[in-house]
């Protein structure tokens, strides 16, 4: 198996989807079952890594352009199926009860109601306007740009975080 010793591979090809599995078939090699992940899933969703079923690196690339055009939709689909980070578009209401903060939000994946506790531990500011919240069950939610939300959502976020 070809291993990349430094930097990113120029190109990778041979991705196929078969029977619900993602495989990498390279000429002269056994097909390997792979998963595709972002290297920086929170701050910069560009560079990707392919891992085999034992979690070992098969290849890392600078972006989906490293795949032939015909395989890019497969890459995108695999990423859509793996990454579940709802993006908050509107904060409808925030309520505090006995130290637990309840949030009613509208996300790109639909409305959601969650509870937040210990903000020191569960609120991560990736930049002054980009924040990730972790609710009490362990789900995460993202606000990509607080300044781009409507004024009342912004106010609720600033009051609560």
């Amino acid at each position: 198996m070809e291993r990349v010793s430094s930097g990113f591979a120029e190109s990778v090809s041979g991705l196929i989807r078969r029977n619900g599995r993602l495989l990498l078939e390279r000429p002269g090699q056994e097909p390997v079952e792979v998963t595709i992940r972002y290297l920086r899933p929170l701050t910069e969703r560009t560079e990707l890594v392919l891992l085999d079923d034992k979690g070992r690196e098969v290849a890392s690339v600078a972006g989906e352009d490293a795949f032939p055009e015909g395989e890019r939709e497969l890459v995108r689909e695999a990423l859509r199926l793996r990454y579940h980070l709802p993006v908050i578009r509107r904060v409808e209401r925030v309520e505090v009860r006995f130290g637990t903060r309840y949030w009613w939000v509208d996300t790109d994946r639909g409305p959601r109601w969650f509870a937040l506790r210990e903000p020191g531990k569960n609120v991560t500011w990736l930049s002054p306007s980009h924040v990730v919240l972790r609710d009490t069950a362990g789900n995460r939610y993202e606000v990509q740009d607080v300044g781009a939300l409507d004024p009342s959502s912004q106010r609720r976020i600033r009051m609560s975080l």
């Binding site: 579940h84 980070l85 130290g99 309840y102 994946r109 069950a137 789900n139």
Partner: protein, 735 residues
């Protein structure tokens, strides 16, 4: 229990006709991430999965070769594997991890023809009553919990001190009553002594005024005294309850929560509560009583003037509330920024060497400056808000005073309403008592909320179930023989991530077993299960044929000796530490045990001998010494079953030799389960179990296992030898 969620609305398709679910779970995500319902069910013959977007899945169980949970980013996926294909059954958020883990196991049980086993209880992430997300799995729902109920529980703690409470209330009432008297004496002096010329009455009113002042102060003193006792008493009781409960909580609780959080709860939350009970509650009660009494007196004296006094009241109350709404996020922000500054400061100091080496002093400075300036900003904000508040409140109170003087003096001059100078003076006197506390009412309410939150957090710990036996009449074995059996044991710390994946093994009495495997393979979990810090999710761990869950827990722990990798020593003498499990043990027995543990010599060589204090966590002893003290402790404890977690840290060869001798003395005649790292232990063990990914993959003696060159064990040993060789080379370089 049963796990039978009904089919939600809005799904594509329906289960095949005649399908009757025996286990079913509702999911909350679609495959590509949108929130929305799904439903996975089995009737024992097939598994059916429906969702709002995808086509239905319907697979006979006998075609499934594996049921797998894929951990995704922010979600999980339940997958059924058939010959050569993966079928996604459901995608779900972290809220449903427990439910789907139970379903996955149920599918495995049914598929392999075993009896269906569901966990006794699934701790849901949402409230079963109102559907709200819970602060913690299985916790009480804050939205279903009323402040009143927490308050009632808090008051119930006062029950043993009823007489004192009654006395306290009497003194409070008398104190407030006495405070009401002086303004009335102003009126009497003005109206009767000065106005009507009854000079002889002056000593009477002056005396009454003095007596009232003295009584008010005296009762206030008594009230505060009694209250300080009561508040501190209740909180001390709670602390004791918390500590006792913390000792008996399941290890699972301790693992789920940081130890700091529990310590914080015992100290901070009880402290907050104490502060509120001693200062907040009396303030509130006294002022509420004063407020109502004065209002009544004012109305009785002159209702028109009274209404003028009441005029600024709504403004004061609303102003106070508004002010707190402004201030509490500022306080919150200040707390966060102080924390941030602390972190930076502590990193700067602890990491000073790294910062210097990487030449990043400037960057640290600018990071600190930025956080420091932010804190400065919020400090200014807090203080300015306070100042503006006091300013506004003073103006409103002044407004009331001016109005009363204007209207009161006007009436006296006109002489139409019958208001005399005395009444006016009494009004002015009462007004000072009346307005003052009002501005703080909202503050106290806010304070009350915080204190009740603290109380609720404390009760949440107190309400946690204690560990113990599942049976009402637990078996109490006097001394077990030590036959330990694992029967189809499966276990996970976190639902959905199995650590022990079906384990069968029997250990004979007196046998020494060595557990070998990579870190994370499940070795520590096995000893946790034997110690019964946890119960298996399914299957049975038994001793002498009795299910451990049926054995009296305290009796069982007495039979198990544990020598941990990093043994914990209490901050007291070596002697106390060796006989921690049996404080009554004679000194001679302690010495015998220490000698067997090869600890006697080093203890005697210390200046204070057996009286040597071991320091915080044993910090005054070396690692090798701590281990031998722990071994001596285990020898004295004399358990039939011994658990040994060998330290990985390298010690010099002489210490190694002594520890080895100590261990040999210890394991003699006991059923021993050791996590083995040392070659000597591996050789001495009657049988080695090689653990990989929660399963026993090889077993046999050291020689037998080494003979199989392709085996797990031989590979592990080769790797270890290589590491040791590298280490040896490194140490030669250093020399």
């Amino acid at each position: 229990m049963t796990l039978l969620d009904p089919i939600p609305d809005g799904l594509v398709g329906s289960p095949p006709t005649g399908f009757r679910a025996t286990v079913s779970v509702v999911g909350d995500l679609q495959a590509e991430g949108a929130f929305g319902p799904s439903w996975v069910a089995t009737d024992g013959e097939r598994v059916v999965a429906l969702s709002a977007r995808e086509l239905p899945v319907d697979i006979p169980l006998d075609r499934i070769t594996e049921v797998r949970v894929d951990e995704l980013f922010g979600a999980s996926r339940l997958v059924a594997v058939t010959e050569g294909a993966d079928h996604t059954l459901a995608t779900y958020s972290r809220n449903l991890v427990s439910e789907f883990a139970a379903l996955a196991r149920a599918l495995d049980d049914l598929r392999e023809g075993r009896d269906l086993q569901l966990p006794d209880e699934i701790q849901r992430a949402t409230c079963s009553r109102c559907g709200a997300p819970l602060p913690d799995r299985g916790a009480t729902c804050p939205r279903c919990l009323s402040r009143g109920s927490v308050l009632r529980r808090l008051l119930a703690l006062l029950r043993p001190y009823r007489a004192r409470v009654a006395l306290l209330m009497l003194w409070t009432t008398l104190g407030v009553g006495a405070t009401m008297v002086p303004p009335l004496t102003y009126k009497m002096i003005a109206d009767r002594v000065i106005g009507a010329g009854r000079h002889a009455e002056l000593p009477l009113w002056i005396g009454l005024m003095l007596a009232a002042f003295l009584m008010a102060s005296g009762f206030q003193l008594l009230t505060n005294w009694a209250n300080a006792w009561l508040g501190a008493r209740v909180v001390a009781d709670m602390r004791a309850m918390l500590h006792a409960r913390a000792q008996r909580l399941h290890m699972a609780y301790h693992n789920r929560h940081e130890s700091g959080a529990l310590v914080g709860r015992v100290m901070n939350d009880t402290g907050e509560l104490q502060h509120f009970l001693i200062d907040g509650v009396p303030y509130f009660v006294v002022n509420a009583l004063t407020f109502v009494t004065i209002a009544i007196i004012l109305l009785a004296l002159d209702w028109r003037l009274a209404l003028l006094v009441f005029l600024p009241v709504p403004l004061l109350v609303l102003g106070g509330a508004g002010f707190w709404r402004l201030l509490s996020p500022l306080f919150h922000k200040r707390g966060n920024r102080v924390g941030r500054l602390h972190t930076i400061l502590s990193e700067s100091i602890h990491g000073v060497q790294t910062v210097k080496v990487l030449g990043q002093e400037r960057r640290r400075e600018s990071e600190f400056d930025q956080a420091n300036e932010q804190l400065f900003g919020v400090h200014v904000g807090v203080d300015r808000t306070f100042t503006s508040f006091f300013g506004t409140m003073s103006i409103m109170m002044a407004l009331g005073t001016v109005l009363v003087w204007y209207a009161g003096a006007g009436s006296i001059i006109e002489g139409t309403t019958g208001i005399g100078l005395g009444t006016l003076l009494a009004f002015v006197g009462y007004m000072a008592l009346f307005y003052g506390p009002l501005q703080w009412f909202s503050a106290v309410l806010n304070w009350a909320t915080n204190a009740l939150t603290a109380a609720e957090r404390i009760f949440a710990v107190i309400d946690q179930p204690e560990e113990g036996t599942t049976r009402a009449d637990p078996v109490n074995p006097q001394r077990v023989r030590g036959r330990i059996r694992f029967d189809r044991v499966r276990f996970s710390y976190e639902r959905g991530r199995e650590v022990i994946k079906g384990m069968d093994v029997e250990v004979a009495p007196g046998e020494m077993i060595g557990l070998v495997g990579k870190s994370g393979a499940g070795k520590s979990t096995i000893i946790n299960l034997v110690s019964r810090f946890y119960d298996p999710d399914s299957g049975v761990v038994s001793v002498d044929g009795i299910d451990l869950r049926d054995v009296d827990l305290a009796a069982w722990r007495k039979q198990v000796g544990v020598v941990a990798q990093n043994p914990f020593l209490f901050n007291s003498s070596v002697l106390d530490n060796i006989r921690y499990g049996d404080p009554e043990a004679s000194f001679e027995r302690v010495v015998t045990a220490a000698r067997a543990a090869r600890a006697h010599d080093f203890i005697c060589a210390k200046e204070d001998g057996y009286d040597t204090l071991v320091g915080d966590g044993g910090s005054a002893l070396s690692g090798g010494e701590r281990q031998r003290v722990a071994i001596a402790r285990a020898i004295l404890h004399d358990p039939p079953v011994l658990i040994l977690d060998e330290a990985t840290s390298a010690v010099d060869s002489e210490t190694e030799q002594q520890i080895q001798e100590a261990i040999s003395a210890l394991v003699e005649g006991r059923t021993t389960i050791a996590i083995a790292h040392r070659l000597a232990t591996l050789r001495n063990a009657d049988r080695l179990l090689v653990i990989d990914d929660g399963r026993i993959v090889e077993q046999g003696t050291h020689e037998e296992l080494l003979a199989d060159e392709d085996g797990h064990f031989a590979r592990l040993v080769r790797l270890q030898t290589e590491i040791n060789r590298l280490r040896a080379e490194q140490s030669t370089w250093k020399e």
